[in-house]
Amino acid sequence: MKKLSGLFAAGAAVMMLSTAPGFTEEATIWVRADGSNFMPQIVEAFNKGHENQIKLDIIPTAELVQKYATAAAGGTAPDGLSLDLIYTPAFAAAGQLEDITDWAKGLSYFDQLSPAHVKTGTYKGRIYGLPFSADSSVLIWNKKLFREAGLDPDKGPANWAEIEADAEKVNALGGEVKGFYFSGNCGGCNIFTFMPLVWASGGDLLSDDGTKATVDTPQMRDAIAFYRSMVEKGLVPEGAQTDSGANFFAAFAAGNIGIAPSGAFAIGALNTQYPDIEYGLTYLPGKEGGWSSFAGGDNFVVTKGTPKLAVLKEFLDYAYSLEGQTLLASRGSLPVRGDIAKEALKGLDPRYQTAADAMAKGKTPYSVVFNDIINSQNGPWVQMVNEVFFGDDVDGSLATAQETMQSIIDAGGANQ
């Protein structure tokens, strides 16, 4: 392996020699398929106006981490990568990423960049990732069904009791119509949309530094009771129990769901693909009001030792410009630069502003084992949400989840 990477380095050196000034350089970047609504557009816009070029590969979301890891092991990793921000600590811990602290701190608007991104992009005090795309979790409701159910279509629910009452009224319409939807067997979906309910009420799942799991809190139990009650009342379709995320967006888009927690991405997707759906958008509320959100999206990271750093900087500078931020926003990715967010969103669907506010004040859990405890289809978090929403033993499920999560965190910490 050592010899091989030496060879690659030599090859890279030769390539650098051949790309003397005057020649255009091409850097390869990857993005997960979730970004296919905005990434090709911004790359195309960049390539049109610049001498240096970006080559984009779109990778299936679930395979991105494996593909990148095997490519890195084989010396064929892309120069840069738009990476789900929650993975940044794990990638940095594995020593795959270039330390870009100096570059980041040199940006005049560094302190205006999305704090959630910068927090997850930082590992042991050094910066390995810069914000690229952003998505926050919000609550959406179907205005047409609200009207039919005799509710005010312009007023979204502002606490749990209102959500449940509104869902019941919509559900009473009968037929295919159901009051509420969530993907009951999907870890990613529920950290994104269920945890904000808990956060907004004052609870948390992990300690700030990610070293302690705090599963069993009164706020968590309240939120579970809230979902269980809606399941028991039959406000949620049967399929929700086994939905591992495939219907996370599609269920609401079909037009038969009254209320669903979702993300800012839904604005772009509904407006372009389902223009007939009339929907409202508000924050994910706490039990008695207030609100919270999961601040998600992608960090831009750089493969360690890439010779194309200059091209990537040029590309990111463009993405951070007003032109770039506006383009990204119009395709459904929220601005990541706070100082020009308002300007970038001007003239766009006003619901983006709500989502952008949610983003700015959103939370992002920090963990080097996020994949293991939260996103993995067989991890403790998925098992717990499925059990507590649909099973009979909430106490046992919470205890098991707490124990399993803590043991994975402890083992993960020891490995680093």
């Binding site: 981490v65 494996q66 990148y68 890891a69 095997t70 890195a72 092991a73 794990a90 990638f91 594995a94 020593g95 795959q96 067997n185 379709p237 049967e238 399929g239 129990q241 086994t242 591992s244 994949n371 293991d372 993995s376 289809q377 067989n378 998925v382 098992q383 499925n386 059990e387 649909f390 099973g391 490995n415």
Partner: protein
Amino acid sequence: MSSISHAAREAVSAAPRRRRRLGRSEWIGLLYVAPAVALVAVFFVAPLVMTAFMSLHNWPLMGEHRFIGFDNYVAAWKDIRFWRAMNFTIYYTLIVTVAIFAVAFPLALFVETPRRFNGFYRTAYFLPVVVGFASASLLWVWLLNVDAGLFSPAAVALGITPKKVNLLADFDLAFWSVIVMVVWKVAGFTMVILMTGLQSIPAELSEAAKIDGAGAFSRFRLITLPMMRRTIALALILSVAGSMLAFDQFYIILAGGPRNQTITAVYWIFSQSFVSFKLGYGAALSMVLLVILVVLSLVQLRLLRNPEGLE
């Protein structure tokens, strides 16, 4: 099979004890087996050695690996979730093997006796075998879907259940759905193996027994079954090994659910290697599974070997 092993045994006993230079014909023999040896070396021995080597390292999917001796094996020994998965795999293997034989044996008896349209029946039963496991699983994902699928809505339409039942939400329903799918997919293959065994039984034996007044059941028990020992052994070992390595159907249809109750050993190895990025640990688990499989196969061969004096 037996003639080859006979020849091999004779060759071994004929070989002189002291070493000597290889003769011309032996060199030619080596040349003939060389491609096979090369294939086995490259695609079996090398990966196996590599896996064994990796299993002694902390080998993350990304980043540097380092030697840690037998730590992975110690961790595997203490890994409750791996042994739970192993438990489930054995439970699944037992049930699915019985189910496959319960379906394949009658099918084999049925298509073996000469009758009209036999070719059609054989083809029909065998067809699901040629569908890949992954594509078959995807087909069943749709069939089993509670809202858009076939079974749940059909049961409601036919008045069997009052409302749609989510077949994948409950362990027993989900587990048996997969069993039905696997039997549908695999029984045809076992049927063909058993059929060749049935066809190799000389008809005279059965006729002689008939003349002696043996009924259909005793003929089956005393002639067919003993004569099919080898065939059954083959079908059994293939079925058990295949089931112990089950992955696709549980990954695609159930994703290990409901509530992680259908995670098989290979699923857990995959998950440790490519979800948790612990390649070294996954390699160690693979070695453990390999040993278990070898032991299981040896036990089956022993149980089903020919009784003394009957060759």
